[in-house]
């Protein structure tokens, strides 16, 4: 967490120093976003609550004015507690309060295509991330957990906008909507489908 705070402070500090003379953005940038995730499909059978516990961060290299490639990670936790209920088992029943958690940590290679030139006031973009995702499943029955930790394939298309803090500024505001799919199967979950909203910052560093 410390490193994220440091990033944000650094970004704000950079704004004053660099925006005065930077006309063209340097190719290498880092970004950090706050994320809200909405489970869809069978994931809702496990937990149907919108997740406000998420963030993502990445590093990206601009190949030309419009095309960039990068690497992105993050974290999102879906969580829900269900009141006491009796669940049938193979040979009987179990009465329990269930606390259901799914912690998702992707590692994605990304490609991004910007629909406007870098000197535009608003730069819309489309992107795709492909890679792997760590799924940490914890279904607590009372204080006893059914735990599963696995890595899965994930693909994640995205549309968004970047708004520079002034023309040529190395710091850009980011807002995007992202959909993530993973062929993840465990108990109630037959595949992982999440619609995610992100807001944050991108800073061109070098």
């Amino acid at each position: 967490m410390k490193s994220i705070k440091l990033w944000i402070l650094t970004m704000i500090a950079f704004l004053g120093v660099q925006s005065a003379f930077a006309q063209v953005r340097s190719p290498l940038s880092i970004n950090v976003d706050y994320s809200i995730g909405q489970p869809l499909g069978s994931l809702k059978d496990y937990t149907d609550k919108t997740s406000f516990r998420g963030w993502r961060a990445g590093i990206q290299y601009q190949i030309n004015d419009q095309l960039a490639v990068g690497l992105r990670s993050g974290y999102q936790q879906f969580y829900q507690r269900l009141p006491r209920e009796v669940y049938p088992t193979k040979s009987g029943d179990i009465s329990a309060v269930q606390s259901r958690s799914l912690e998702v940590t992707p590692i994605l290679a990304t490609v991004q295509y910007q629909l406007r030139k870098p000197d535009a006031a608003i730069i819309p973009y489309v992107g795709l991330g492909v890679g792997t995702v760590n799924m940490l499943y914890n279904k607590y029955w009372g204080e006893f957990t059914d735990r599963d930790n696995s890595w899965q394939f994930a693909a994640s298309p995205e549309v968004g906008i970047n708004i520079p803090f002034g023309k040529g500024s190395p710091l850009l505001f980011n807002a995007s909507v992202q959909y993530t799919y993973s062929p993840y199967k465990l108990q109630e979950i037959t595949s992982y489908n999440v619609l995610q909203a992100n807001v944050g910052l991108r800073l061109h560093i070098n």
Binding site: I12, Q77, Y79, S91, G92, I94, V199
Partner: protein
């Protein structure tokens, strides 16, 4: 516009700091929420074919070092009384163990690491309690759970086991019903009523008359 975006960014920094780490479900869990009540029944057993039962006069306390200690604390007395009343309410008649009861009821408090019985996925199921064959007049007999595996675990728990004394199989008695009380506060006397009524409520088939 710039100012608004800067403010949003600052707010974002705060939000990320607070939300970045996962929620631990155990942190805000009450004792009541932590407990699970697991019942298991033997397959293809007609519970109405039994009419009488006898119950232990004290509760076995099983630990990893010692599993033949017996106790009769206030908690144990209440547990014996509650289980007895629940079975009577289901139509079974309490008799002395000398009167050849159809069913034997064993009560065990389990502490620490104990050789336990469960089946996939483990925490939900029955850990067999301690059975004293001499107490029940079946020297050399143990009882068994046909479908369970042996494992080890660490915690406090309570096991209520009902054993069929009518139909021994190859010098063994078969347990036909088990309730496991697991989680925080299972050894607390004030929770006995709610725990015992929960395991009987979820086992409606456990009755002497159809």
């Amino acid at each position: 516009m710039k100012r608004v975006m800067l403010l949003m960014s600052a707010a974002l920094g705060l939000v990320v700091s607070f939300s970045g780490c996962g929620k631990d479900p155990l942190k805000d869990m009450t004792d009541e929420e932590s407990r699970i009540y697991v019942t298991n029944r033997a397959d293809s057993v007609d519970f109405t074919s039994y009419k009488t039962f006898s119950i232990v006069d004290s509760v076995a306390v099983a630990t990893n070092t010692n599993n033949d200690e017996r106790a009769l604390t206030d908690y144990d007395k209440k547990l014996i009384a509650d289980v007895t009343q629940s079975l009577q309410a289901r139509g079974y008649t309490l008799v002395s163990r000398a009167a050849k009861p159809d069913l034997a009821v064993n009560l065990t408090r389990i502490d620490n690491t104990y050789s336990a019985v469960y089946y996939d996925p483990g925490y939900w199921s029955g850990i067999g309690g301690y059975f004293d064959p001499f107490y029940w007049g079946y020297p050399g007999y143990g009882y068994y759970w046909p479908t369970y595996y042996q494992v080890y675990q660490k915690e406090r728990a309570v096991s209520i086991d009902i054993v069929d004394l009518k139909n021994p199989k190859n010098n063994k008695l078969v347990a036909i019903w088990n309730a496991m009380l697991r989680g925080s506060g299972v050894w607390n006397i004030s929770n006995v009523d709610s725990m015992v009524s929960a395991v009987f409520a979820q086992s409606t088939y456990l009755k002497a008359n159809s």
